[in-house]
Symmetry: C2
Subunit: 282 residues, 2 copies
């Protein structure tokens, strides 16, 4: 076995389903986050993404007995102060949020971004999710936003949480690398965007300027409406520009996350796909 | 009530859960299709999409007692030979595939497209789903393909069915307007594409030409790989061109349906968003 003796000796053995760490994991995997705001994730690929993300801290790892040998490499990569515990398969299965538990879960502290600093530095689009309800959609949007170089993603209060377990899974690790601000009041956000000199762009499937002709360079925030009803009138009126993606006349609309991803692609295209470095404050 | 007397008199009253039409609906709503290949759909919005789609035939409609008055307008729009039945709410709820049943379901016959004719006529991309597993992803892809002017969507055998109930819901009615061919053998398809003079384009997140620089005009087929593993090597080697979407260096990848949608947008952009009319053979 490749496991270092030092690392192996760190592993706590837990056999009780009422153990406090087991309880913390159970609640966190159901809610997506602990009370401290650490995100709860499952599966080796997701844990690896967290370990690879320089600015995230993996605090606790839960491994099943059956999978311990398989994950020994992860254990050696954990920070010194991380808590590692091993539980029987049955306990793990009972707290897992997935149909086919993969035997490893972790609690991860995300970098603490400051919204005004991110807005002041942003050279690529800020994505604003205004009421998206489907966690898979929101997670997909986080994934696209990170991959296509958005500076941050902000959600308004009536939007599904980006830390919802299904949203986290759909984000495919992008949540560790993209500044995300959840539940920001729209009036407050619009004021901050104005202060930062950010142009506000509304997406509108019916009217608006064609995306290819709209100026998506410079400092912009792209507002994405709710899946069924789109963007509300107040937000639409606040926007500096309405943009649409030209689709077939006999088509209804695009999926909200898809439409947002296409606009992010178009914005990146207009910028020559030059993606800025992301600086994290210590 | 706005319901025409003629239409109202057509409505059969069914009170037994073992009635043969109830059984047909139960199986079809679980599988997505009847044995005759008619798709099973639920909800007023979806039924309206089917009625609006000129080339589809709505054969049977099931309405709950509680919702009959609300859907009287649908009934007047049904073809003369359509079967309309009313069932008690409890029976409807038991056969519904959704958490909040909306009291109306229908069986719809799609147009019978012929693959070789569609390929011979295609002036916009053919989308080929090569192993997608998530029905929501595939349905979203159908929706994007229709909206962004693809000529057809083809799935290879190991791909989730485009008629899976969740895929149908995610397609948001696009399934009624886009030629879809399910479970076509890859060797057979590639031969047909060659005969039709179609260039085969593989998507590859790592290598390949940037989408903006790749020639996506003319007759092309875009192959979309499986969510986790991408496109298999055989298909990749068969492609005339490898294309990638330029993303951040520290990003993993885009969601498969998102990546496909962006390529369809890019193809439409290169064609000036000129979408062709779709001709259905009688």
């Amino acid at each position: 076995m490749a496991m270092a003796v030092g690392a192996e000796s760190q592993i706590r053995q837990i056999t009780s389903a009422t153990n406090s760490l087991v309880k913390v994991f159970r609640r966190a995997l159901a809610d997506g986050r602990t009370r401290d705001g650490w995100v709860a994730i499952e599966g080796p690929r997701f844990v690896e993404e967290a370990l690879d993300a320089k600015d995230c801290a993996v605090h606790s790892v839960l491994i099943t007995g059956g999978a311990a040998a398989q994950f020994s490499e992860f254990v050696t990569r954990l920070p010194q102060d991380a808590e590692i515990a091993q539980v029987p398969d049955a306990i793990f299965e009972a707290l897992s949020g997935t149909k086919t538990p993969q035997g490893i879960a972790a609690l991860v502290e995300l970098p603490r971004w400051r919204l005004d600093e991110v807005l002041a530095r942003a050279e690529s689009p800020i994505v604003v999710a205004c009421g998206l309800q489907d966690p898979g959609n929101l997670g997909t949007l986080v994934r696209s936003a990170q991959a296509l170089g958005a500076a941050a993603l902000v959600t308004l209060p009536a939007t599904v949480s980006p830390f919802n377990p299904k949203a986290l899974r759909s984000s495919a690790g992008a949540i560790f690398r993209l500044p995300v601000f959840a539940g920001i009041d729209s009036g407050d956000l619009l004021a901050r965007l104005r202060r930062a000199g950010t142009r506000v762009i509304a997406t509108d499937a019916k009217s608006g300027q064609d995306a290819t002709e709209a100026a998506l360079r410079g400092r912009v925030a792209i507002l994405i409406g709710q899946e069924a009803t789109g963007l509300n009138d107040v937000l639409r009126r606040e926007a500096d520009l309405q943009v649409k993606i030209p689709i077939r006349a006999d088509a209804d609309s695009l999926n909200a996350a898809t439409a947002a991803s296409i606009l992010l692609y178009e914005a990146a295209r207009q910028r020559g796909f030059v993606y800025e470095q992301r600086v994290v404050k210590a």
